[in-house]
Symmetry: C2
Subunit: 250 residues, 2 copies
Amino acid sequence: MASQVQCNKLFGGFVNKFTHESKVLGCKMTFSVYLPPAATQKAVPVVYYLSGLTCTDDNVMQKSGAQRKAAELGLALVAPDTSPRGLGIPGEDDAYDFGTGAGFYLNATQEQWKRYRMYDYVLQELPQSSIMGHSMGGHGALIMALKNPGSFRSVSAFAPIVNPSAVPWGQKAFKGYLGDDKEAWAQYDATELVKDYSGRKQAILIDQGTGDDFLNKQLQPEVFQEAAGDKLALELRMQEGYDHSYYTIA
Amino acid sequence: MASQVQCNKLFGGFVNKFTHESKVLGCKMTFSVYLPPAATQKAVPVVYYLSGLTCTDDNVMQKSGAQRKAAELGLALVAPDTSPRGLGIPGEDDAYDFGTGAGFYLNATQEQWKRYRMYDYVLQELPQSSIMGHSMGGHGALIMALKNPGSFRSVSAFAPIVNPSAVPWGQKAFKGYLGDDKEAWAQYDATELVKDYSGRKQAILIDQGTGDDFLNKQLQPEVFQEAAGDKLALELRMQEGYDHSYYTIA
């Protein structure tokens, strides 16, 4: 969890500065967030601001005046740092345009710089979006995660429709919405998508009640498990006696 | 903008229900958000919850009790509806498993159902994340948008390094972080990425000061503009006299 290290009221909202231990980068990182006045009442849109060489999270917060407009429009601003800090890599502080303050928003491949993974940090660790769903929604969560491997930090599904192309609910819907083109069907079918999946080994949790009346005809999570093989860190938990209703979710 | 239609205090936080005119779906949509107590002090992680057939945003909010855990963990819950509503499509209300309440989280291709685009709605319209950046950060914003065409609602860059593989700043960084493999370089170079880009025609705004000392040697936004052709809705605004500093951002 992030710790708040500073909080300043500004234009009716707040500039907050946080530190946290980044799992992606393996060091303590600092970022700043401006929350507009509207954020106390609703979820507001987020704008990520990426700074340039030599900068930190402070530059846009202290020099741009962007918070005035963000307050007016009801936008949150999130400003990450520009590189890992204090990893102790030889040479990391030798130049303004390489190493500290110069992460270039990429995932380094060279051994010495392998903890420079600002691309994953900004895209995956900072937003902390997760997705989950139930039944048709479980299908939705799975396909969104498989089609966008970097977008969600955690993915879980209760009693998902894992292979809609092969079961009555999905066949009816796909034929109606997508027509007869089976290639188009495969683009929205978790089991078909995972067969061609080559993204990172995402952790996915599926919970399935054994007392679910739709288990054999519509759901069949083991079909997805088999297709996934070891491409995913998939956990399939069979829950004794639970059915397809919201009593199971609760 | 979304309008709040209901707000209930729960476990120290709030369940909010909003309606908004969805551009993606072309109809009025309702969604619910649970904000935990921690949301008044900081940006909290978001969990998207996708419901199953026949459901609305209410099911998880009223039946699951998930807010108790979300309050404890400091998570926001966002529950969208399960299909467009009230589009007046013939047959949309004839079955529980097709049409209203059964959007299946896909983008329909069949003419009659072409406004059923729950995939884009959940992935693009609802999160409302935007990304922007300056210089090296402008490079970061461009590559993240080009590598993840569905992830950001708006993308803008001040004085970005558009073609790092071809300029001194980028060549130094890429050689250091990525080694000599030019294929690896191309994966983080906006100009190279846009040449192979086949995603949706994203709107991207680039602001570039004409008084920027780095314009000719490091930035060259026209190189990106030329490579993009008509694949993007790119606007390149040259700003007379502005330089590379935060005075330009302000």
